[in-house]
């Protein structure tokens, strides 16, 4: 497969996203190389989750194209899109577990729907995925009985159900304790190394991002467009844009902005 010129796993060009007339982001362009970890960064409410939605088929962009392995995703028919989407695994910000199914059934449902595995194999695979995320003992519980962090991990196990080529993570470690969060990082790296999966991750966990991401994009809420491209660790060291610096240095220069406003008011 890698023999040809190897098209990027995902090519996004000139994307504009809007809810009704309310534009969330415009002119979003980036490529995600196969097997890389790509970070989507930006302040809360800048449209990171919205961007993810347009990549996984939930929100049709108003303009621009998304190409999956060279194929125009949104120009394809709904059936074709669903086929392409079968190679995607998505971990939603809220976990989004199906609340009327147990954790194990949540992981099993995609397999039941899209494979012809027998029950015993499905059962084995479900236990494997749950064990990977450290929920081996909780397969029989309902989503409502799990804590927020456990729900995230169960969502991750479900995202892994069909061994996807591309994984989308929306804030996988938000709301997790530091130890679990570190475990999640390692897990993500393991998934990349182990399955060769391409990973697109939305996260505020800077330490994780610096450690794992190969490339990334920074969305700005004010101008509603990306203002920086590059690996998070590179952006941290070289990017001159104040908003990006403030973000990368944990809002350190955010203080500077405030005192700046004070000065303005005084002058």
């Amino acid at each position: 497969m890698a023999a040809k010129s190897d098209p990027a796993m995902l090519e996004v060009a000139g994307l504009t996203l809007a809810f009704g007339e309310h534009v969330i982001q415009h002119d979003v362009s980036f490529d995600v190389k196969r097997g890389s970890i790509f970070a989507i960064m930006g302040g809360s409410g800048c449209g990171k989750s919205t961007l993810l939605k347009s990549l996984i088929g939930l929100l049709r962009p108003v303009a621009g194209t998304v190409r999956v392995l060279g194929e125009d995703y949104w120009a394809a028919s709904g059936v074709r899109r669903a086929d392409l989407g079968r190679g995607f695994g998505v971990l939603f910000q809220s976990g989004a577990l199906w609340s009327s199914l147990t954790v194990a059934e949540n992981v099993a449902l995609p397999m039941r729907m899209f494979t012809s595995l027998d029950e015993a194999s499905i059962d084995l695979l479900v236990r494997l995925k749950l064990a990977m995320v450290g929920l081996d003992a909780d397969g029989g519980r309902m989503p409502a009985e799990l804590s927020g962090g456990m729900r995230k991990r169960a969502g991750l196990a479900r995202a892994l159900a069909l061994d996807p080529e591309v994984l989308f993570f929306d804030e996988p470690s938000a709301g997790l304790d530091p130890v679990t969060s570190r475990r999640m990082d390692n897990l993500i790296l393991d998934l990349r190394e182990g399955f060769g999966a391409t990973i697109i991750i939305v996260s505020h966990e800077l330490a994780s991002l610096f450690a794992i991401a190969d490339d990334g994009i920074f969305l700005d809420a004010g101008t509603r467009t990306p203002i920086a491209h590059g690996a998070p660790s590179v952006l941290r060291d070289t990017c001159g844009t104040p908003v990006v610096r403030a973000f990368m240095h944990r809002g350190a220069s955010g203080e500077a902005r405030h005192s700046g406003t004070n000065d303005d008011a005084r002058n």
Partner: protein, 368 residues
């Protein structure tokens, strides 16, 4: 405000407490200050007489700063309390959102918009109906991803557990019909015809309609609330992202279950209703159970049952489709769940009665 050589000084005095109404005067005060301030001037403050203050003062300063920026005037804020400056610094220097005045639309416009919205809704339900039929055929050919277990769950939910309430309602309706009939018919000595009245009314109309109304309140509302909750939890998004068709997974089992159980519940409702009618008739009039039963059998033909039976199939599909459709279109907040459940019940009940009227007209035209 007073003017000194190079700059203006705004004297702020008294209490600036928002809930005491000082906010109402801000606009006028700011306008007045800006009217007197020259282009590009400096505005300083004198706060010697300032009393207690809260966000009322901050609101005034914010408005003033915005207005001053428009005139390229500069605020000399050094004299202001440090705490107020801190709060002011939190506020972005963008123009405060002007609120859009609510557009007053005339009654006729609103009626028209409502009508159009209803029409679109109706079309959407029809589209969903078509879609469901297509998917149902797909399911029959084995191409569907519907899970057998879901259908069984829905069937139990829509069928078995509805039996008690359907029984109570139909028993009472049968009894009421018999009571009203008995009081009237006794005056003509036509006592035994109570059986005709109860039988025909129940089998043709009441059993089907009452059962459908009960199911609209019970199951239609539950479908809408369940699907709306899933919408709010991103569960529907998760289904779509996984490539699981919502049609197959959520809607089809529900529509099939209610369409299948409604006619059975109708037959059950008929039986219980007739029993209720018989109980009251025997109690009130000098009729033997056998005579009542024979009279009912003679009065109610099989075609009446066919009519009621077909109607209840249509009612089942309508109630289920309305519930699912309204749930899918719900917003993502908790109150949307309540609203969609209410709407599903209302649409279900009104829809059932309207559809029943259509059936009545058609039956009349066809002499059925």
């Amino acid at each position: 405000m007073r003017r000194e050589e190079s700059h203006s000084v705004v004297a702020i005095s008294g209490d600036w407490i928002a809930r005491n109404g000082c906010v109402d005067t801000i606009d006028a005060a700011v306008t007045q200050i800006m009217a007197q301030a020259a282009e590009g001037t400096e505005i300083a403050f004198d706060v010697a007489a300032l009393g207690r203050w809260d966000s009322g003062l901050i609101a005034m300063l914010w408005q003033l700063r915005t207005a001053a920026a428009g005139k390229r005037a500069v605020l000399q804020t050094a004299a202001l309390p440090a705490a107020a400056l801190r709060l002011l610094a939190l506020l972005q220097d963008c123009p405060p959102q002007t609120t859009v005045p609510a557009v007053l639309t005339g009654l006729s416009t609103r009626l028209g918009q409502r009508a159009l919205a209803t029409w679109t809704e109706l079309l959407a339900v029809c589209a969903l109906l078509g879609d469901s039929i297509l998917h149902a055929f797909g399911a029959m050919r084995g191409g569907s991803r519907m899970q057998g277990g879901d259908l069984v769950d829905c069937l139990r939910d829509a069928g078995g557990s509805a039996l008690p309430i359907v029984a109570i309602v139909n028993f009472l309706v049968g009894g009421i019909l018999a009571f009203v009939g008995a009081v009237q018919l006794r005056r003509f000595g036509a006592d035994v015809f109570v059986a005709n009245l109860v039988g025909i009314a129940l089998v043709r109309e009441m059993a089907a309609v009452m059962t459908a109304i009960v199911m609209a309140g019970r199951t239609g509302g539950a479908y809408a609330a369940h699907i709306a909750t899933m919408q709010g939890n991103e569960e529907i998004d998760a289904l779509r992202a996984t490539g699981i068709p919502v049609q197959d997974y959520l809607i089809l089992p529900r529509v099939l279950a209610l369409t299948a159980t409604m006619p059975l519940l109708y037959l059950y409702g008929c039986a219980i209703g007739l029993l209720g009618g018989m109980t009251v008739a025997i109690g009130m009039l000098a009729i033997t159970p056998t005579a009542y039963f024979e009279q009912t059998r003679a009065a109610v033909s099989a075609s009446q049952f066919v009519f009621g039976f077909s109607k209840s199939i249509a009612f089942g599909a309508l109630v289920a489709l309305a519930g699912c459709h309204i749930g899918l279109r719900a917003g993502r907040s908790a109150s949307d769940v309540g609203n969609s459940a209410t709407r599903a019940v209302v649409v279900g009940i009104v829809g059932v009665i309207a559809l029943d009227a259509v059936f009545a007209i058609c039956a009349n035209a066809l002499d059925f």
